[in-house]
Symmetry: C2
Subunit: 396 residues, 2 copies
């Protein structure tokens, strides 16, 4: 049975077969019920109260999608790339009436068998990283003397889809605080459970929002990737944190938040437990990082007060992005969490939300300098971006 | 007077004032004539024969664009970001009849005063990196004890625009080999001249092609950035090359090309001096690297035979990208060159061409995994991409 650290007490009901409740332990916050989909994938309902009927079964005839995922190591850049060729056939901008993330109706079966839901998390039908077939393997290790060409390991891991609401026409920014609390509890549960898998090195919770950034389903949803290696950004951040700790004996991000709070120019919002700021060296026109004041490793290790404050703080940041322009800005939001293994003590949880929209009707593209050299050119000063994000408010 | 190493013998004529020829040394290949634009920027004509009339002056009233470029260092990622807020007002998708890269006509003045041209290179009116105002500074250095927030230095450097042809409706893929030779000579000249500037650490020659990747001017053109720091990708590649040399005593890329030639599965095309291949850990659906067989630092140090072979080899690769789909694929093409200073002996020149189009009508976006974690997910296996690139041919 999955276990959740921190505040989110969860009751887990596992339905291996219709009606069979394996665990049913009522808790104060969120109740989880698991269901097996027609092709063997797992779907998890997260509800704020017990007693919802989650017994509807997946009635579809659903063949398993062949998965051929590989993680390939590029020795010239020292980075992993995932090659997942089976994803080319994934669902692409379906009409609203064909949305696979809406609840099932009497005339149409979707990914979610129930006629309604609050929050669900299910295994992606077109995953970039796949569950290992046999015995649980270890995280990817590098060979002693790798070829200059590179080398490949199986693309073990997990890719999950998080539906934030059953309302197809809603958005994260339109959720209530209570709904965000449920999403947050689901994120915490998934972080804890996925972190415990032996093949997983890093859990990444994120949301892509907006067709401008290639979102192929408009229903409000996010994703979770559990990687079998330390992603490039994580490795770089840990290296920086290690150097900082060696020199100052303290956490790089704790010190960063302290320095930003002293300077104030790039602070967007602060509350008892959370600080939202625009980083000094922002890559994107509008980019916000949301830090817990306490040194916390990941979402699953937040305490109850931090979790409650986070629901408001995170929603506040997302809402600001929806108010920057005449229409909501497309955005990418993701959680930087400590890795599950080596370097975990160095990691400091934070969310990062960014938009590729640089002005009304204009997008920031990754072109030559960014793609070829890794040098981002930002047309909006971070100080101006912070002032603008303070000014637009969140509507709270 | 600029000097060009390698094969491209250039004659340089500098026109400080109309008709004033400072240098006029006829050479076998390409002739350069410099002109000062109305706001003080330099424009350089590159012609395959001497005697073109390049005396037309810039008749525009052109105010200098205020530049406020900064290079900001992000200590948490160990990377530089360029903040150039004055660029927000840059020219954005002008109508064809307003194109600033077409030759000047009796009724309309553009960036190029001549009534026709072969290849021109001029200083970008909206540069991300700007020429230092006073005495030539040194490359950016890091403070002894940087703040956890980061630190900024002036965004010294150069940004130049390279017009490949005066024909607005053409494209790089439609150029003749002779035209590409002239472009290549201009790239070599600019690489040599910019590399000699004391504030420059890295010269990056590139082309963004296609509205899908944010190109704001459709006239066939590329760009050159001269950075005052080692870009993140360069630093990573040098680190890898240093490790490889320590272990094997040889160049990482020389060994990589050798191993790929032995394996053959990802080779797209080879000729006497150049090898085009799809990297084993490609980040993009179609990504080609074009390597000289000899260990060469940059474009300016190619010999004559390599340069002549390169014009055909590079054009061949670009043409293949235009034949992958029913319409030419948008692409980013860039040259990885050795840095001008530290680590220069480790660098190995290569071109990289990639497209963001993953299938007919579908683009690869940088979403959560790429932006948040630095993990690219590629839907097309490199071996299949190489087979497809071999199959489509180049039309030569």
């Amino acid at each position: 049975m999955p276990r959740v650290a921190g505040c989110s007490v969860l009751a887990v009901q596992e339905r291996e077969q219709p009606g069979e409740i394996v665990v049913d332990q009522p808790g104060p916050r969120v109740f989880r019920t698991d269901l097996r989909l027609a092709d063997g994938r797992t779907l998890r309902y997260y509800d704020r109260s017990p007693g919802h009927d989650r017994s509807a079964l997946d009635q579809r005839e659903l063949a398993s999608v062949a998965s051929a995922s590989e993680a390939r190591f590029d020795p010239a850049l020292g980075e992993w790339v995932v090659v997942a060729s089976h994803r080319q056939s994934r669902t692409f901008l379906p009409a609203d009436e064909d949305c696979p993330l809406c609840p099932t109706t009497p005339t149409r079966s979707t990914e979610i068998p129930a006629p309604d839901y609050e929050v669900v998390v299910f295994d992606n039908r077109f995953p970039s990283l796949v569950a290992p077939a046999g015995a649980p393997p270890s995280p990817a290790a590098s060979p002693d003397d790798p070829s200059p060409v590179g080398y490949a390991v199986p693309g073990w891991g997990r890719c999950e889809v998080v539906c934030f609401t059953s309302d197809h026409d809603s958005s994260f920014a339109a959720l209530s605080v209570a709904q965000v609390e449920t999403v947050l509890a689901a994120w915490q549960d998934r972080t804890a459970e996925l972190s415990a898998l032996p093949e997983v090195e890093q859990v990444f919770v994120f949301e892509n929002c907006g067709v401008e950034i290639g979102v192929t389903l408009s229903h409000p949803h996010g994703q979770i990737y559990a990687y079998p290696f330390q992603p490039p950004r994580v490795r770089r951040q840990l290296d920086a944190a290690r150097r900082h700790r060696a020199r100052h004996g303290s956490c790089l991000w704790c010190d960063l938040v302290g320095a930003e709070l002293a300077e104030r120019r790039r602070i967007v919002r602060e509350s008892e437990h959370w600080v939202a700021l625009v980083p000094f060296a922002s890559r994107w026109p509008f980019q916000v990082q949301l830090y817990p004041r306490r040194h916390v490793a990941d979402l699953a290790t937040l305490d109850e007060a931090e979790s409650r404050d986070l629901a408001v703080a995170y929603l506040d940041v997302i809402r600001r992005f929806s108010r920057l322009f005449s229409t909501p800005a497309p955005y990418i939001a993701g959680w930087q969490q400590a890795p599950t293994g080596e370097g975990r003590e160095l990691g400091h949880l934070f969310a990062e939300v960014l938009t590729v929209r640089r002005a009304e009707g204009k997008l920031k593209y990754l072109a030559g300098s960014e793609s070829g050299m890794g040098v981002f050119v930002n047309d909006v000063t971070p100080e101006r971006a912070a002032a603008r994000l303070r000014e637009v408010g969140s509507g709270f």
